[in-house]
């Protein structure tokens, strides 16, 4: 679902914010993004 939302935004030429509560969370989400929304 997150992937879809991000791709949808991308298709309409927009950008997205991805906000995490703690700095430690950044790496995990970055991994997720690299794996799932990489093109």
């Amino acid at each position: 679902m997150i992937r879809e939302a991000l791709l949808r935004e991308r298709y309409r030429g927009g950008q997205a914010f991805y906000v995490v509560p703690r700095i430690e969370d950044l790496a995990g989400v970055k991994d997720f993004l690299d794996k799932h929304v990489r093109r």
């Binding site: 679902m1 991000l6 935004e9 927009g14 950008q15 991805y18 906000v19 509560p21 969370d25 950044l26």
Partner: protein, 315 residues
């Protein structure tokens, strides 16, 4: 997709560079901590994903959500929760409130909801008991209500006849959570408390609380005493009372008192213990070691002032 990463422990210039690169469309996704909460509007960014939404405060979530949907494009905000663990009841409540806040002016409601959920702990809690400076909980509540009502009614200037005296005594005055557990009940009690005027009303309300919730804790007893002082203040046209271990400073509303001659006489009666400052505030010098003494002393002075103002014998 190109992802930029930013967080608050990076040097400010680095954050700025990333933000402006994002603004220029060099990245598709800006992955960051809450540093994007405020700042430059980015009209092309219309999707927001909040990771672990249960870890944010309500005001923060609301603020974040406000980052998207500023332009004509439809915006999306997704709030994610951990799949495994259960979130706390408070977090769940925060998210429910966020869902319910859709209309214009929701920000006002939000402030009160946020306070409701977190409780007034940080505002009036033990750790700050000496610093109830300008706004107490009760006052905050009534100011907020007044502001909302005025806005709804389309009133621009605040109504002149509805004013709330400020009393600073430097001690915790609140209804503790362990006394009245239910939030909604607690708030309605605060609200009713702000409407009390006469001693009778206050006594009756105190008796009702004793009936419903048991013996009054100190904080609540103080709350009632403050309510009584406020009643006197309104009658004596006193806008502000600051009481400390060395006495009290009294500020009259518009520096006016209904019976100036009597006031002068009253102050003279106190000899060295009272005087009018050049700025028209009246100071009473007292030795109030304990909060109890401070409250009792303040009550007595204001009671006498109220009687003076209404042309009765100060007894």
């Amino acid at each position: 997709m190109k992802v930029a990463v930013a967080h608050g422990q990076m040097p400010p210039t680095a954050i700025e560079d990333i933000m402006s690169a994002f603004y220029d469309g060099k990245y598709d996704i800006l992955l960051s901590t809450t540093i994007i909460e405020s700042g430059l509007d980015i009209p092309t960014a219309n999707t927001l994903i909040v990771h672990r939404a249960d870890m944010f405060g309500l005001a923060q979530l609301y603020q974040l959500r406000g980052r998207v949907g500023r332009s004509k494009l439809r915006a999306y905000a997704l709030f994610t929760l951990p799949a495994q663990q259960k979130i706390t009841a408070q977090a769940e409540r925060r998210l429910k409130v966020l869902q319910s806040l859709e209309t214009l002016g929701a920000g006002f409601q939000l402030a009160s909801h946020d306070l409701d959920i977190r409780g007034a702990g940080n505002l009036l809690g033990e750790e700050q008991s000496g610093h109830i400076k300008e706004v107490g909980f009760e006052l905050y509540q009534s100011m907020l209500e007044e502001a909302i009502l005025n806005l709804k009614a389309g009133v621009v200037e605040p109504a002149a006849d509805r004013w709330s005296p400020q009393i600073t005594v430097g001690m915790p005055v609140l209804i503790p959570e362990d006394y009245v557990a239910d939030l909604a009940v607690r708030l309605s009690l605060y609200r009713r408390l702000a409407d009390l005027d006469t001693d009778d009303e206050i006594d009756n309300f105190a008796a009702e609380l004793r009936d419903r919730f048991g013996v009054l804790p100190d904080e609540v007893r103080y709350l009632f005493k403050i309510a009584a002082i406020k009643g006197y203040c309104r009658r004596a046209n006193v806008e502000k009372v600051d009481a400390g271990p060395k006495g009290a400073v009294i500020t009259f509303r518009d520096n006016k008192f209904a019976q100036p001659d009597r006031l002068v006489y009253f102050i003279r009666q106190h000899g060295q213990a009272a005087r009018v400052r050049p700025d028209m505030k009246v100071v009473f010098f007292q030795e109030w070691e304990t909060p109890e003494e401070r409250l009792a002393g303040t009550t007595e002075i204001l009671r006498q002032l109220a009687n003076l103002a209404e042309d009765r014998k100060a007894a």
